[in-house]
Each structure stands twice: as structure tokens, then as C-alpha cells.
């Protein structure tokens, strides 16, 4: 069954936007813009999921990545407000500095890795594209909320995902404990100093902890 041209065009456009914005994420100097561009890259990604009949995963992609994770990224980046210093390449590391990667060398290594991966995967992809039919999945409820919840929670004693699900909750617990532990580190007097009600110039660099300064 041939794919309808609407799907083809949508996919091509999404792929283009994903590629361009992902490239721009790495090339843009301003970190806040890079974050915004990453969000831009996530939206067509979710579109691709929807084209693959996984509408729920597509919405989750927006909810979790664009909505939650990138929001926190933006928040943190704004709070520490980093700006590239003069003579520093956006890829990090000083230009030609001793021991550090210069931008060119990093790009070269990246290209090598990408090339190797492409050589590894392209035959596989080509094989898959020539073998697998493109007929849409006819399984009822495919990619919908109900079938996903069934996949996760049905028959817990034999479901391969039960343990994973519980382990993820431990992971989150660990994250919470760790975060609380660090945010509670400072005493009450330090909290008064850094309270956000003082002048912003003093209040904003909250992340520059005294821990990082020499004793």
C-alpha cells in the first residue's frame, strides 16, 4: 500500500526542520537560543511519531521534552546566564589550547563517528526499507493510551516491564533525595543572603556555590 503524499510531504518537512534545527543547536553561540532551537527540533519529532501512528508517544514527546525538560533547561540557563567569552569557540575549549579539543578537531572526530555509524546502519536501513511493507498497523488501539497502559500494567507477575517500572520510581526517588540534599546544604543565614527578594544582581548567581570557591 503506497504512502499518501500528504504523509510523505509532512515527513520530509519534519525531517528537514529536525535536521536544520538540530544543526543550529550545536552551531548557535547563545545558549538560550540553542535551547529554544532544541525545543523547535522536538516538535517535528513528535509529528514523526504521530505519522508512525504513535500519537500518544508523540504527545508525550512534547509534554516531557519540550514541556518539562527543556523548560527546566531554559530556567537553569537563564539563571546562570552563561555567555561565550571572547576568543572562545562555541564548541567549548579554548582555540588551539593545550590539551583541549579545538573546534575543528572535535568536529572531525564527530564526523568520523557519524560516518562510521552511517556506514554501519545504512545497509540495515536500506534492507528494512526494501523488505518491510509500509502498510499501516491494523492492530486495534495501536499506539493509544489504553494499549500502552495494558502493555505496562497487564499481568504484572509475567510482564517484562513491571520491574523496570518500579526501578524508574526508585531512580526518581534518588533524584529527589540528591536534589534536596544539595539544596538544603546551605544554612538559614545563607538563604537570607541569597533570597530572591534582594537586588537581582546579587540574587541571581545562586548556582555559584561557595563550595566551588577555595576554602
Amino acid at each position: 500500500m503506497p504512502v499518501s503524499p500528504v504523509v510523505e510531504i509532512t515527513f520530509a518537512l519534519s525531517a528537514l526542520v529536525i535536521l536544520l534545527s538540530s544543526l543550529a543547536v550545536v552551531l548557535v553561540k547563545n545558549p538560550v537560543r540553542a535551547t529554544l532551537l532544541l525545543i523547535v527540533a522536538f516538535i517535528p519529532t513528535s509529528l514523526v511519531y504521530i505519522l508512525l501512528q504513535a500519537a500518544f508517544v508523540g504527545i508525550l514527546q512534547i509534554l516531557v521534552y519540550a514541556g518539562a525538560i527543556m523548560m527546566l533547561f531554559t530556567f537553569v540557563i537563564m539563571m546562570i546566564n552563561p555567555s561565550p567569552k571572547d576568543g572562545e569557540s562555541p564548541a567549548g575549549g579554548s582555540e588551539g589550547g593545550e590539551g583541549g579539543f579545538s573546534g575543528m578537531r572535535g568536529a572531525l572526530i564527530g564526523l568520523l563517528v557519524v560516518g562510521a555509524l552511517g556506514a554501519l546502519l545504512l545497509p540495515k536501513v536500506y534492507h528494512a526499507a526494501s523488505q518491510v511493507s509500509v502498510a499501516p498497523v491494523t492492530k486495534p488501539g495501536f499506539g493509544e493510551l489504553s494499549s500502552i497502559s495494558a502493555l505496562l500494567f497487564e499481568d504484572p507477575a509475567n510482564n517484562p516491564l513491571t520491574v523496570s517500572f518500579e526501578l524508574i520510581s526508585f531512580l526518581i526517588l534518588v533524584g529527589i533525595i540528591a536534589a534536596l540534599n544539595f539544596s538544603r546544604r546551605k544554612g538559614a543565614e545563607a538563604r537570607m543572603e541569597n533570597s530572591i527578594t534582594t537586588r537581582p544582581t546579587e540574587a541571581l548567581p545562586i548556582l555559584q556555590r561557595e563550595a566551588l570557591e577555595p576554602k
Partner: protein, 360 residues
């Protein structure tokens, strides 16, 4: 996923006038047009309503005098805003500064796309509608964050930081309330949620789950007030401390975009509240046949708007009667009170649903 005709008679008429291949596209065009129209009219109407309510609550004179019933006040406001120059302060980040006002309004538009106004009056009925609503409303936070950052103004930045912290936090208890409703209805589609509340008034989720429903409604109202950045939880604006919060630097049309988004958001939020707790477009039934018959005469869309405006009035009532909270109080309220209560309420509701301890 099912797309509904915008409305039977009018939709059919328009579709009939178009050649066959265009008829299918007519639905989308009509839907978008209707939503856009609704948003504009609604915003103007809500501004008027807000000013009236505020005037009556706090004895302000202006809004009661401009035109009959003060009806011309929003028009005066709109003209004033549109005539102003769209300023670009020095040192702003162009992209962020001009992108920011567009995001919140986009988010609220997208929410309205799944809002069930009536049985057949819904742009699209997503099976995971509730998740979708949460996902797209994130755009609003993004707009406020980058707007505050892009303005290159410390008040704006502080306002958007506060707003970010506040919105992230209150989103948790809001989502937990939504989860409760999804659990009770057994579906995440907004239409299915409404249809699950068929029956008498006692079958609405606010009453049907004893205690849990009412508590969830209260939590929903409080946390959505915070999500809307409305008083008494409007810490991101807080004009007494931050001049104007994240939109300090905005003027003219950019500012009015934020302003518009705020009102449309209020409408969307009240719509969600009505859908989740008050039976959405269903006419209220009391089990008294003649009364029920009379009430059912009005179409569902009217009932939807009646419920929505009841909730909007509640929001306005909050805003003009309570004093503003302090930022640390606001955050402790969420993390130390609302969130634990929401979690406990979710457990309670799960128990009630599992053992079917619901009103008949």
C-alpha cells in the same frame, strides 16, 4: 481520533456550497475560524467582565460609565493598546523578545482545539486529550520565561523566574487532579470524560466521588488560578514589587498578546474545569421530569458557556477579594500543602473507584 463537523445546519450549508474535494477541508477551516472568532470575542468580553466585576467589588468608577453598562470600555482599551508603538528596548534579544508574546496565545488556541463545546462541536477528539492539554499548555510557560529573559530587564527576569517556579510547581497538583478525573472516567478523551458524567447532577465528578471530587475541584481551582498567573497568585506580575513582572518592557500589540492570552487561558481553564467536574456540555438534571425537560431545551453549548462563566466568575471573585501572597508562601503552599493533599486525594479516589464507593 475522530473529527467532528463544526455544527450540523450551518456546517452542512457551507459544505454544500463547496465542490466535493473542498468539503472535507471546510471542517478544518470552519473550526479554526470559529475558534479564532471565539477567542477574540471572548477576550474582549472577558476584559469587560473583569472590569465590571472589579468595579463592583472595589467600587471603581470608570468601567461602569464608558458607554451603556460600560460596554465601550474594552473597545477603548483595545484602541489604546493598538495605537501604541510596539517598542523594542535597547539590548533585548530580538528572537526571544518578539517570539515570547506569541507562545502563550498559541498554547491556549491549541487547548481550545480539543475542548468539547457540545456533542458535535469539537474540533478534534484526541484519545489522549488530557495529556495533550497538559503538553501544549507548556508553551505558555516558555513564552513567559523567554519573554522575561529576552527583555534584558531585571524585573522582567525576576518575574519570569518566579513565574517559572510557580507554574512548574502548580502544574503538579493540577495534573494530579486531571489524573484523578481520567482514572474516574476511564478515558483521557475530553469528550469521553463528559459523556461519563451522564445522568443527574449527582453524576458529575464533583459530586459523584464523595469528598474526593469536591476536594479535587477545590485543588483544581486553586492550582489553575496559579497556572493562570491570576491574583491572589499573580506573583509573576506583582506590580507593587516588580513593576510589571515579565511583561514590564512590553508595550502595544506585544503586551496585548500577553494580555489576550491571559484571558483566553482563563476561558480554557474554566472550560476544562467544567468538562472535568461539572459535566461539560450536559444539561443539568435533577431527577424531576418536568424541570429536566425544561432545562434540556437549551442546547449543550449554552450549558457549557453557563458553567464556564460560573467558574470564570469564581476566578474573578478570587482575584478581587484576596490579597496577593508572598513568593515563598506561595511555593510552600504548593509543595507542603497542595501536593501532599493532591496525592492523598488521588489515593482516596483510587480506593473509592476500586471499591465502587460512589454515589448511585
Amino acid at each position: 481520533m475522530k473529527a467532528y463537523a463544526v455544527n450540523h445546519p450551518i456546517g452542512d450549508m457551507i459544505r454544500g456550497m463547496l465542490p466535493a474535494p473542498w468539503a472535507a477541508a471546510a471542517n478544518g477551516a470552519l473550526a479554526v475560524g470559529l475558534i479564532a472568532g471565539l477567542v477574540t470575542v471572548m477576550a474582549i468580553f472577558l476584559i469587560w467582565l473583569e472590569r465590571k466585576v472589579c468595579a463592583h467589588f472595589q467600587a471603581r468608577l470608570g468601567p461602569t460609565r464608558v458607554g451603556p453598562f460600560g460596554l465601550l470600555q474594552p473597545i477603548a482599551d483595545a484602541i489604546k493598546l493598538l495605537m501604541k508603538e510596539n517598542l523594542r528596548p535597547r539590548g533585548v534579544d530580538n528572537l526571544a523578545y518578539f517570539l515570547a508574546p506569541l507562545l502563550p496565545i498559541t498554547g491556549s488556541f491549541l487547548v481550545l482545539a480539543v475542548m468539547p463545546f457540545d456533542h458535535d462541536l469539537q474540533v478534534v477528539d484526541l484519545p489522549a486529550g488530557v495529556v495533550y492539554v497538559v503538553a501544549v499548555s507548556g508553551l505558555g510557560i516558555l513564552g513567559i520565561l523567554i519573554g522575561g529573559w529576552g527583555s534584558n530587564n531585571k524585573y522582567s527576569l525576576l518575574g519570569s523566574m518566579r513565574s517559572g517556579a510557580q507554574l512548574f510547581s502548580y502544574e503538579l497538583s493540577l495534573v494530579l487532579c486531571m489524573l484523578l478525573i481520567v482514572m474516574a472516567s476511564g478515558s483521557a478523551s475530553l469528550r469521553e470524560i463528559v459523556l461519563a458524567q451522564q445522568g443527574t447532577v449527582l453524576d458529575w465528578w464533583i459530586f459523584k466521588l464523595p469528598v474526593a471530587g469536591l476536594l479535587a475541584f477545590a485543588l483544581f481551582m486553586i492550582s489553575s488560578t496559579a497556572e493562570l498567573n491570576r491574583g491572589p497568585l499573580d506573583l509573576s506580575e506583582a506590580e507593587s514589587e516588580l513593576t510589571g513582572g515579565f511583561h514590564t518592557e512590553y508595550a502595544g500589540i506585544s503586551f496585548s498578546m500577553f494580555f489576550l492570552a491571559e484571558f483566553v487561558n482563563m476561558f480554557a481553564s474554566a472550560g476544562l474545569g467544567a468538562t472535568f467536574f461539572l459535566g461539560g456540555f450536559l444539561a443539568p438534571r435533577f431527577g424531576v421530569p418536568p424541570l429536566d425537560w425544561a432545562l434540556a431545551l437549551l442546547p449543550g453549548v449554552v450549558w457549557f458557556f453557563v458553567k464556564v462563566f460560573a467558574l470564570i466568575f469564581l476566578y474573578m471573585w478570587f482575584r478581587w477579594t484576596f490579597p496577593r501572597l508572598r513568593i515563598d508562601h506561595l511555593l510552600s503552599l504548593e509543595w507542603k500543602f497542595l501536593l501532599p493533599v493532591s496525592l492523598a486525594n488521588l489515593l482516596l479516589a483510587a480506593t473509592l473507584i476500586t471499591f465502587k464507593w460512589m454515589l448511585p
